[in-house]
Symmetry: C2
Subunit: 197 residues, 2 copies
């Protein structure tokens, strides 16, 4: 019933699943400074502290750096929107990157299961930034019919059709679930978008 109740660092650590050291760190860098100390120097966290930590954990789960989290939490609304929008752009880039990698990985796996050698050109689409097509010619010329290339495929193709079908099945289910998880990212981005209008 006491309105100004506080808790120790160990309690907060157990409650959140973070370590004591992590909370020390957040104090050191000014991200989460406890609202008080006991006469003996012990940190004391109150309700507002816990609420702030909840937000910190949520943002951190979205991949934001601690300094960025501090900026977002300490800035007024308008600045918040701008900052979050920049983060949104970064996330978009990351999403697109992963999406491309995933596409190539999927084709690679299927090909392996069939025991078929992949078109070497496709291999390099898995890699990052800027259009890899601009190197595709060079690649095909250099690696198109290297022995080590094809050989390294055959090493890893002992994988029955049953195994593969079973895998595909399970994949679909988990895929959907994971999609729901990742909506947390997207929520953050779209929230920022809404704020700027």
């Amino acid at each position: 019933m006491d309105d100004s109740q506080t808790m120790g660092i160990g309690d907060l650590a157990r409650l959140t699943g973070l370590t004591v050291r992590t909370l020390h760190h957040y104090d050191e860098i000014g991200l989460l400074v406890p609202s008080g100390r006991t006469s003996g120097g012990y940190r004391e966290y109150d309700g507002a502290d816990v609420d702030r930590l909840r937000q910190i954990v949520a943002y951190r789960a979205c991949g934001l750096a601690l300094t960025d989290i501090a900026e977002v939490l300490d800035a007024p609304g308008t600045e918040q929107a701008g900052h979050l929008q920049r983060q949104m752009a970064l996330l978009d880039k990351r999403i697109e990157e992963l999406r491309r990698q995933r596409a190539v990985l999927g084709r690679t796996w299927e090909a392996k299961q069939m025991g078929i050698a992949l078109d070497p050109e496709e291999y390099f689409e898995v890699f990052g930034e800027s259009d890899p097509r601009q190197y595709a010619d060079e690649v095909q010329e250099r690696w198109g019919d290297t022995d080590a290339y094809a050989e390294s495929h055959r090493r890893t193709s002992g994988f029955s059709k049953e195994d593969w079908l079973r895998a595909q099945e399970q994949t679909a289910a988990v895929e959907a679930e994971f999609g729901a998880c990742m909506a947390a990212y997207v929520h953050a981005a779209i929230y920022a978008n809404a704020l700027t209008r």
Copy 2:
């Protein structure tokens, strides 16, 4: 047409989108040691090197540590399966964690949009390991009706119903796409599973 063609570190960097320093690092730790050097000491990468790097990048995108990647790539089939299975377990834990966080975040957001104060008990479900219910009582007793708690909610609830609906719409689309991306994780896990049988 030459079968033993090689490329320099800069070419490989441009091709993959990694930095030269990153390739230096992989050489230092023995993860990707170039198959040769020129008389002048320049690194030379051949087809097998590039193929290995492709695998490295794929595993890294799945969140594996570089030392783990080395173990997986250098181990024979049976050990590979064991290692990948342990990684699978880790990923499962992480997935479950994210799934819980996402669920609570979703409810929090909806509640904020409605301007409704959340059941304080729910706040702590966002946090990690082991059943948080075991602390729920303690939490409610301490923070259930703190002023700072409710206050910090009202600060952040300026968000129209239209904005919210628009957000929900966009979310669904991106959610599906992201699910596809994350199947890369799942593929790795299930591949390991198939190997052990």
